[in-house]
């Protein structure tokens, strides 16, 4: 800052305080002489007082991230997780007064940070844990039954869209993320699962107020993901390479689990 400090200016005071809160260590937090000079010194160093707030801001952030990613914490341990959290915070600081969203970009950030390392699979585990967070807070919608399909004319069926529950996420991974997630739940011993055990594909839903993880065949998860993103039945089949003979079974599964909330015919004149 080039202009002379004006300690009475609220915006400037908060900008200086914010810089101290972002600092990675105590010395960084207390390096701004104008900030320190603006704090009453009554025998307890102003720098130590500022540092209390810095520690608190960091603990708030790490605590919120830990609550969203308990399986990753358990797999990598507190020390490594805290280092990851500090680096993640520097790249993706909190953008909301609602702590819940702090972990929103963690999976994408981990994918870059851990690319090419033996921990690359943690990014997919993070996607799975964030999917659980999202389904827990998604809107509730009444489900429709499979009988609704009977009323659809054959010629529009291929273009028909199935609107799915807001509380539904698809996670496809080249790693055994479902197995790792299950083995690291609080009531499980936390067995290490070899990352090279193979791909797993998961549909996450909500039931009895908890996230439920369904391990499903790859093509079926891709099919549901395509439906989720708004594709019609025919398009979703093509995108996912789900064999057409498996379609009745895949649809039955969705309806049985109460995951379809509406059938939507394409608007007249709408092209695929």
């Amino acid at each position: 800052m080039n202009s002379p400090p004006d300690p009475a200016n609220l915006a400037e005071l908060q900008a200086r305080f914010a810089a101290a809160l972002r600092a990675p260590d105590h010395d960084g937090a207390t390096a701004d002489p104008a900030l320190i000079a603006g704090i009453v010194d009554d025998g307890l160093a102003p720098a130590d007082r500022v540092n209390l707030y810095r520690n608190n801001a960091s603990a708030m952030f790490v605590g919120a991230l830990e609550r969203s990613y308990p399986v990753i914490v358990r797999r990598v341990g507190d020390g490594y997780f805290h280092r990851l959290a500090a680096d993640y915070r520097a790249a993706h600081p909190s953008r909301s007064g609602d702590l819940h969203w702090i972990g929103e970009s963690f999976a994408a950030w981990l994918a870059v940070r851990l690319a090419g390392t033996e921990y690359a699979w943690l990014a997919d585990l993070a996607r799975l844990e964030w999917a659980c967070e999202e389904v827990l807070v998604a809107a509730d919608s009444p489900a429709i039954s499979i009988e609704a399909l009977g009323g659809v004319a054959q010629e529009v069926l291929p273009e028909m869209r199935l609107r799915l529950q807001p509380a539904l996420r698809c996670v496809s991974s080249a790693y055994p993320v479902w197995s790792v997630w299950r083995a690291n739940q609080p009531d499980q011993p936390g067995d290490a699962i070899a990352a090279d055990r193979g791909a797993e594909h998961v549909i996450v839903t909500r039931a009895d107020d908890r996230p439920v993880l369904h391990l499903r065949p790859e093509a079926e998860v891709r099919f549901v993901a395509a439906l989720s993103s708004g594709a019609g039945l025919q398009q979703a089949l093509e995108n996912s390479c789900l064999p057409v003979e498996n379609l009745p079974q895949a649809l039955a599964w969705l309806f049985q689990h109460g995951l379809v909330v509406a059938l939507e015919a394409p608007a007249p004149g709408e092209e695929e």
Partner: protein, 292 residues
């Protein structure tokens, strides 16, 4: 999944009774509804109920059908010099529409700068500039919410040399300029009296009694920093004897008002919270007798 959070039934939408309530934490959602303890009301953190749906909202609907509700915000950062987060205010409004709380409160703090939120209650200097800014923000939020809000005093670990007013003068002027009510947190008054060195009774004597519509009581932590002890407002233990004495003094000044037991970290069994609320009720009862 055919459950609409609005279908759980409306609760007693009347005013918060002049009795002790408890802060609702998610670990107690189930036990509160099953045990239905004799507490007068509940208070929930507004931001925990910002979601579109899901079990948290349903749990508050159920609790709210049994007890009068206060919604207490922790994330708005009213005194931030940066623009007001209108999306956050919109979500507060949505929670108010959904849960119909009898009281709505926030803090006399700032919380974001340069696009970053610190998710903490950060201290304002008690300057004329900060006062004008905070009062304007409170008025703006009250206009959007179309109701009065209560503003709570903070715990502070530092004081600014630029402050021209005492904390109680600052809050009194805020009430005057914004028309807000006060949520007087007596643990915070006590914590600040130790951390910043003033007489907590002078603070109590300095706030406008008619503006105080709610009191908070909580525990704090003693932390050694260098050769000094600082009190940290962690809401992680029982209310200490000094704060109970301050409560007695405050009730003499402002009269009996709804009083909340806050316990947010190391949350104990519901029975422990209810017993603390029972103690607060005894103080309130004595204050009523004195006032009679």
């Amino acid at each position: 999944m055919n459950r609409d959070v609005r279908a759980a039934g409306r609760g007693p939408v009347g005013p918060i009774p002049v009795s002790a309530g408890i802060g609702l934490r998610s670990v107690h959602h189930e036990s509160l509804v099953q045990q239905r303890p004799a507490v007068g009301w509940i208070e929930a953190h507004t931001e925990n109920y910002f979601h579109d749906g899901g079990p948290q909202l349903l749990a508050l609907e159920r609790a709210r059908a049994l007890y009068p509700l206060s919604l207490h915000g922790v994330g708005l950062g009213l005194g931030s010099a940066a623009p007001l987060d209108r999306e956050h205010v919109r979500r507060v409004k949505r929670a108010i529409d959904r849960f119909e709380p009898a009281l709505v409160s926030e803090h006399a703090c700032w919380g974001h700068s340069g696009g970053e939120h610190f998710n903490d209650l950060l201290p304002l200097p008690q300057t004329e500039e900060a006062l004008r800014h905070l009062a304007a923000r409170v008025r703006e939020v009250q206009d959007v919410l179309d109701r009065q809000i209560l503003v709570e005093n903070l715990s502070s670990y530092l004081a600014f040399t630029s402050s021209q007013l005492t904390e109680w003068e600052f809050l009194s002027a805020l009430v005057e300029e914004s028309g807000c009510g006060l949520l007087l947190d007596l643990n915070n008054v006590y914590v600040n009296s130790v951390n910043l060195g003033f007489d907590p009774l002078q603070y109590i004597a300095g706030v406008p009694p008619a503006a105080v519509q709610e009191i908070h009581l909580a525990g704090h932590l003693r932390k050694q920093v260098g050769d000094r002890v600082l009190l940290i407002d962690d809401h992680g233990s029982a209310v200490c004897p000094d704060v109970w004495r301050l409560f007695e003094a405050a009730l003499r000044r402002v009269g009996p008002v709804p009083t909340l037991i806050e316990w947010d970290t190391d949350v104990p069994a519901l029975e422990v919270l209810v017993a603390e609320a029972g103690l607060a009720d005894q103080y309130l009862e004595r204050a009523r007798e004195l006032a009679a």
